[in-house]
């Protein structure tokens, strides 16, 4: 229905007979608009600067530009879950038990996975092989290595897996028909399922051989075990049971026989009831083990052989050589100790010679050592040097049809690598299963890209009866395929390796127990029958006489492995490259270790230049018929005169530019030692050291506080040299005197961190764990060289000096420049102390008072906290820190091509811990006592409505420590381990006299020094 209402549009309409209203009824406008005049006036239109055409052009252009600009929206490369998987909760970490078995490192680990990304490796403490060394801790970064192979290759060209399968399959069949030999050359393969697959393959293909090759061979001990006990496996040692440990060149706290002995060793290093183990080390280059020994005897490798023979004679034959030499005295003393301790003693040797190992086994047998276990052997080294040598001969002779390499890089690690590469060309088919384009992969015809162990299924038999599982923690990052999957395809099976593995376990291992449980635990222990130990009769005197024929030389060269680099598999891992070597405290390098005496004889020098960095001379090393050119020389205190050493694992090809450093020492990795000659060449090498002053300068009373067992037992409190102060005319210790008002910190949680210097071996696993947990940037060689390492924790290493305060006073030089310069020089045969140092979280923190913007302040739980967002970067706090633990972001360390490490690419950034912010340029950072971890623990306990249990609080370092030297916890909880440790006799605080009252405390090292 239409409305009758009438609307008026202007007041005019109310007027009757308005002319305007009339007009408007007819026209739109009251007045005439001069449109005709305007449009018709051609002249004025022409004179206009903007013509109609131009106007349209402008409109068109601006519309186009506007729409183009609108198209370029910000692109975010993250895809949120459309449907959230049940087992992934953003912000909540999942842990998976898995096992690393890369042929060199074997360990049961827990993998922390956040939002589907593995971000950290932690030791699986509920397993028997759960200590993770620095390399294992760092292996998570190797997963996100940009340098990894992205797919299979044929003759250097990328191909598809289908093509790979058809081509290689056809060739294998051809070889099978011709009856030619197919050889698998792998690193130590401790996987029963893989072995069974290889066996199946050989059944199907006939002429198949499986040769195991370890880059760093333990063939000598394996052969000795085979000869003596009839099985080619590594004996196990429990150093916790040892009262006397004598090691002849065995770096058993390092990688000797697969490593993993430090936990047991550490148990015997804490004095209990006035007793602890006594450790004598005979060695040529300063190893981690030698650095921890009570007595270290510095001898050349050839003398080690000699020492071993003498030990044998003294212990087993009962003949003591009466030679007047310091070495003989030391040997006879060691023999005496061993004999006295009987079954509680053990002798280990790292001499890579079957006869030497036989002697060692025989000695341990003779004393009925309880430390060694030859029945329950370890399964983590299988390499057979004889077979490998035979294989290369066969290859050269053209007898090998196909060589399939897996998990090994012989073209790099073989001393005769060139020969191998030439011989490889004579095979009809060469396939390399590799993670990256290493030397062997590039020499092989086909390269099959394999996944990282964090992307794989597998099983591992680490020790007799101790089975472990490897499970993927992330979907494969690129187009890779496991060796085992490929084997299954070659066998014509369409079974997935997971199913095969599960079937194998259900049938052979689990014995009806739950697969899921085994997978959850990561390990499964099968009870083993106590076999009768069958001992073969062996001609030990023949072994001895063979050994005694070994002649020394003027300069004996050995190769060794570093805690960070190992055999070099993870050389492209910047965390490991930047990890300071525990002994030399040098990063990003390998170098020829030489004694001061030899260096002076050969005119070689190390120099400190103006910015404090170290420079060294460069030499050519000639040994084993090979010359390695331009090797930097590092003068190592404690290196036996007449011996030099070079670390393995460097000088690889095909790495990222920054990581391509050092020289390849594998050409020298042959036999016990090499007779070497070195010649100085022109040039100067620039080292990147994190510690430039090596002695403690008479300050040990406030810094490391070591004492002998005898002193500790007789005067247990005497080491406590806390200064005396006067308070109200009473003499009190320093901790009673305070200028500051104390606030009540007895309520709630108060964190303390205890570090036991007696059990800390300096292995550096904690440093890598901290690096991974806290998103510490890698800064590269140059920045380390100029003193800008970013590690939140470091392990200081001190050598003793020949010039002590007492000696200086005796000689009258005390207090002079001459005295100080002598004090700075480390001894040629130094005692070594390690001391992990991180932020001490001082209750009276000097850093906190000086910050103008209060960016660093104290938390109620005792932490000294750093608010990055508030920091303006005056660096005053770092200057005022007596411990020098603060780290400044001198540059932007992420997304910066100058620092092309993991934080500069999308793949590498996946390892970052989302709970810890990445610091920007210009701010200070430092140890936070892993506050992200402690807060999570508190919140979880709160949610579950229970108090936090002791041991639940962990930091990355305390969790990683294989010897439990680092203990973290709440001291307000009087039942906690850390509060008990705090009250122990051995506890002290670093630089106590400064009055900083740290929340980190140390326990002094006791050395079991026995004078011969």
């Amino acid at each position: 229905m239409a409305s009758n209402k009438k609307y008026w549009k202007s007041v005019e309409e109310l007027k009757e007979n308005s002319s305007i209203v009339e007009k408007l009824k007819q026209k739109e406008f009251v007045e005439e608009i001069p449109t005709d005049q305007f449009l018709g006036d051609k002249d004025s239109l022409d004179s206009s600067a903007t013509s109609r055409r131009d106007f349209l052009k402008y409109v068109g252009f601006s519309t186009a530009v506007a729409s183009l600009a609108a198209c370029e929206g910000p692109v975010t490369k993250s895809i949120p879950f459309v449907i959230k998987p049940d087992d992934v909760t953003p912000g909540i970490a999942d842990y998976f038990a898995t096992t690393i078995a890369d042929g060199y490192d074997f360990a049961n680990v827990l993998v922390k996975v956040r939002e589907g990304r593995p971000i950290k490796i932690e030791p699986n403490k509920e397993s028997s092989n759960g200590s993770a060394n620095a390399r294992v801790q760092a292996s998570v970064l190797s997963l996100y290595d940009n340098n990894r192979l992205k797919g299979p290759k044929a003759k250097g060209e990328s191909i598809s897996w289908n093509k790979f399968d058809s081509e290689v399959g056809a060739k294998l069949n051809e070889l099978k028909e011709n009856g030619e030999k197919i050889v698998f050359l792998t690193g130590t393969c401790a996987s029963p399922s893989t072995k069974s697959l290889v066996n199946k393959f050989s059944e199907q293909y006939g002429n198949v051989d499986h040769v195991v090759y370890d880059a760093i061979s333990e063939s000598a001990v394996l052969d000795a075990m085979k000869e003596m006990y009839g099985k080619r496996a590594l004996p196990d040692y429990d150093f916790a049971k040892a009262d006397v440990i004598v090691s002849v060149g065995a770096d058993f706290l390092g990688d000797w026989q697969g490593g993993g002995f430090s936990a047991g060793y550490a148990k015997g290093r804490v004095p209990k009831n006035g007793k602890m183990s006594h450790h004598i080390q005979f060695e040529s280059n300063m190893s981690l083990t030698g650095a921890n020994a009570d007595k270290r005897v510095m001898i050349k490798p050839s003398e080690q052989v000699n020492a071993l023979i003498k030990l044998y004679q003294a212990i087993v034959s009962g003949v003591a050589t009466r030679e007047m030499s310091p070495l003989n005295t030391a040997v006879q003393n060691a023999a005496k100790q061993i004999k006295a301790a009987g079954g509680n003693a053990v002798l280990v040797t790292g001499i890579q010679d079957k006869n030497a190992q036989l002697l060692a086994l025989q000695i341990n047998k003779a004393i009925q050592s309880k430390v060694i276990d030859v029945a329950n052997t370890r399964n983590i080294r299988h390499g057979d040097d004889v077979k490998v040598a035979q294989l290369i001969t066969d290859m050269k002779a053209g007898k090998i049809g196909a060589l399939i390499t897996h998990n090994t890089n012989p073209a790099y690690t073989l001393p005769n690598a060139k020969e191998f590469i030439e011989a490889l060309k004579k095979t009809k088919l060469s396939v390399s299963f590799a993670m990256n384009d290493n030397e062997t992969a590039s020499a092989s015809e086909y390269v099959a890209a394999i996944p990282h162990y964090l992307e794989s299924w597998n099983d591992v038999l680490i020790k007799k009866g101790q089975y472990s599982l490897t499970q993927p923690t992330i979907h494969k990052l690129s187009d890779t395929r496991q060796f085992q999957e490929t084997l299954l395809i070659w066998l014509g099976s369409d079974e997935a390796y997971y199913d095969y593995l599960k079937g194998m376990w259900n049938n052979n291992v689990l014995g009806g127990k739950s697969w899921n449980k085994a997978l959850h635990d990561g390990t499964f222990t099968v009870p083993v029958a106590n076999d009768e130990i069958v001992t073969n009769d062996i001609d030990i005197s023949a072994a001895g006489s063979a050994l005694s024929k070994i002649k020394g030389s003027d300069l004996e060269l050995t190769v060794y492995t570093k805690a960070g680099m190992g055999d070099g598999q993870q050389a492209n891992n910047p965390w490991l490259q930047e990890l300071p070597d525990p002994i030399t405290r040098t990063t990003w390098d390998n170098y020829l270790l030489i004694s001061r005496i030899d260096a002076e004889r050969l005119g070689l020098e190390n120099r400190t230049i103006d910015n404090g960095a170290l420079n060294g001379d460069v030499v050519n090393v000639i040994a084993n018929g090979v010359t390695i050119e331009n090797v930097p020389v590092y003068i190592q205190p404690g290196q036996a005169p007449g011996s030099v050493a070079l670390a393995l694992g460097y000088g690889l090809e095909g790495l990222q530019k920054e990581m391509s450093i050092g020289v390849n020492a594998y050409p020298f990795a042959n036999g016990i030692f090499q007779n070497a000659s070195i010649e100085k060449v022109s040039g100067e090498h620039k080292f990147a050291c994190v510690q430039l002053q090596h002695t403690i300068m008479g300050r040990e009373d406030e810094i490391t506080k070591e004492m002998s067992l005898a002193d500790y037992v007789s005067r247990p409190k005497d080491w406590s040299t806390a200064p005396k102060f006067s308070l109200d005319h009473q003499e009190v210790t320093q901790d009673k005197v305070d200028l500051w008002e104390k606030f009540d910190d007895t309520l709630g949680t108060k964190f303390n961190l205890a570090i036991d210097l007696a059990t800390c071996t300096g292995c550096a696993a904690c440093v890598v764990a901290c690096h991974a947990e806290n998103n510490v940037p890698v800064v590269g060689k140059h920045e380390i060289r100029v003193g800008r390492d970013m590690h939140w924790m470091r392990i200081d290493r001190y050598y003793s000096s020949d010039m002590t305060v007492e000696r200086g006073k005796e000689e009258g030089s005390f207090g002079t420049g001459e005295f100080f310069n002598a004090q700075i020089q480390p001894s040629d045969a130094p005692d070594v102390s390690f001391q992990p140092v991180m932020c001490q979280h001082c209750n009276h923190a000097p850093c906190e008072t000086v910050c103008p913007v209060a960016a660093t302040s104290h938390g109620t739980q005792g932490q000294n906290q750093m608010a990055y967002n508030r920091c303006v970067g005056t660096r005053y706090c770092a200057n005022n820190c007596p411990y020098r633990v603060r780290r400044f972001n001198w540059f932007k360390y992420f997304d910066n091509n100058e620092f092309d490490f993991n934080m500069n690419n999308d793949l590498g950034r996946m390892v970052l811990n989302p709970d810890v912010v990445v610091r920007s340029r210009g701010v200070m950072e430092k140890c936070s006592m892993c506050i992200q971890m402690t807060q999570l623990t508190i919140l979880n306990a709160k949610k579950e409505g229970r108090p936090v249990a002791d041991g639940e609080f962990q930091t990355a370092c305390s969790n990683a420590c294989p010897t439990d030297a680092i203990v973290f916890g709440d001291v307000n909880d009087t039942k906690s381990k850390v509060s008990k440790l705090e009250k122990e006799d051995r506890s002290f605080k670093l630089l106590d006299f400064v009055g900083t009252k740290p929340n980190v405390f140390y326990q002094l090292k006791v050395k079991n020094i026995k004078e011969a």
């Binding site: 400190t608 230049i609 103006d610 910015n611 404090g612 510690q691 430039l692 002053q693 090596h694 403690i696 300068m697 008479g698 300050r699 810094i703 100029v786 003193g787 800008r788 200081d796 290493r797 001190y798 305060v805 207090g815 002079t816 420049g817 001459e818 100080f820 310069n821 001391q835 140092v837 000097p846 008072t849 000086v850 910050c851 103008p852 913007v853 209060a854 508030r870 920091c871 303006v872 970067g873 005056t874 660096r875 005053y876 200057n879 005022n880 007596p882 411990y883 020098r884 603060r886 400044f888 972001n889 001198w890 540059f891 932007k892 340029r921 210009g922 200070m924 630089l991 400064v994 009055g995």
Partner: protein, 462 residues
Amino acid sequence: MSHYEAPIREPLILGDKSYHDISNDIAAPIEGKANTWWWVVFSIALVAFLWGVGAIAYTIGTGIGVWGLNNKINWAWDITNFVWWVGIGHAGTLISAVLLLFRQKWRMGINRSAEAMTIFAVIQAAIFPVIHMGRVWNAYWVMPIPNQFGSLWTNFNSPLLWDVFAISTYLSVSLVFWYTGLLPDFAMIRDRATKPFQKKIYSLLSFGWSGTAKDWQRFEEVSLVLAGLATPLVLSVHTIVSFDFATSVIPGWHSTVYPPYFVAGAVFSGFAMVQTLLIIMRKVSNLEHYITRLHIENMNKVILVTGGIVMVAYLSEFFVGWYSGSSYEDFTYLSIGAATGPYWWAFWALILCNGVFPQLLWIKKLRTNFTVSFIMSIIINIGMWFERFDIIVINLSRGHLPSTWTQFEPTFVDIGIYIGTIGFFFVLFLLYARTFPVVAQAEVKSILKSSGDGYKRARDNK
């Protein structure tokens, strides 16, 4: 019979000047044209300044890492230069305020330039605490601005914050004091100016000074009050700067002798810089009659006294460190360890430049010699730079834990910024010399003896 006149007081202004002569002499550089030398020196200074600006821009753009610092030595040239410039800026206030209160008339010939030097030096000094920050763009966070502004309240425990107040107070008081003194002189230039633009500028600058008795009375009163205010600042500024070190726990820094010793050192270096500038300026700007041998000698005496205090401080630092028997004191900047360690050259540069060479000034012949005084002033400037370098770098390089011992080497950026501030300083000073009355002519006229002396001579010669 003429009345008795004491013959001891030498005239402070030579050359038989009349009041008009003084006006002419002081206004000459402003009214005349710059000579070639001025342009040459100015160009060099400007280039150095621009280089410094470039180096600062590079630092801010890339990160503090372009300097030679490391995680153990977190300060080096930056704070060395800061303390050095602040120290130089000390002489101005001492001359204008303390000497005014002590009625030392000889200060009138030099106070204007000394104060100008102070202000320019403090400007240089202020650059360093700002640019040494890792995040310069947040530098205003050190200001106690109410929380509503968003930058949060500051930490009043920090000596760095005390610096902020000490320096800004000092700069503002010095500036006001200097400007007050300039008013009658600007008015003199204004009155003489012939070009309209110049006249306009100087009438603005002179704040309408009319020269009435009331003006003069107020002028005198303000000067006295400001002198009273500024005198404590002479002590406070460097005391507070020394707190940066003295309140810390680092061996060599943690020292109670620092405040008086720093103040003496600052006056020492400040007078040396005044010497350097004025010995050149009296030649270049034809001020030989106003800045005389007497001025130079007096300043040398101040240098000798403050240098002596500094030397005593060195000796006590050295002795107390040694006497403590603490091994942590064996490597501080004044110790045997430093004298024989890698920084031996810096140690000996300090001892020779500040301790040994200035002792030559005991000899009257040398301290009244312009060339010797000039060379000595340069030596002292170098020595005082080394003092700060030693305090910062040597002490930080030998910390508590021997594992953290290291060394420092400057990069071209460190050097560039330092040279840049020297350039900036001279750019300011040269501009000042061309546009400001460089001698406080109004005050100088008050000590001119020509009125009486001239007539006396005329009478005697009759």
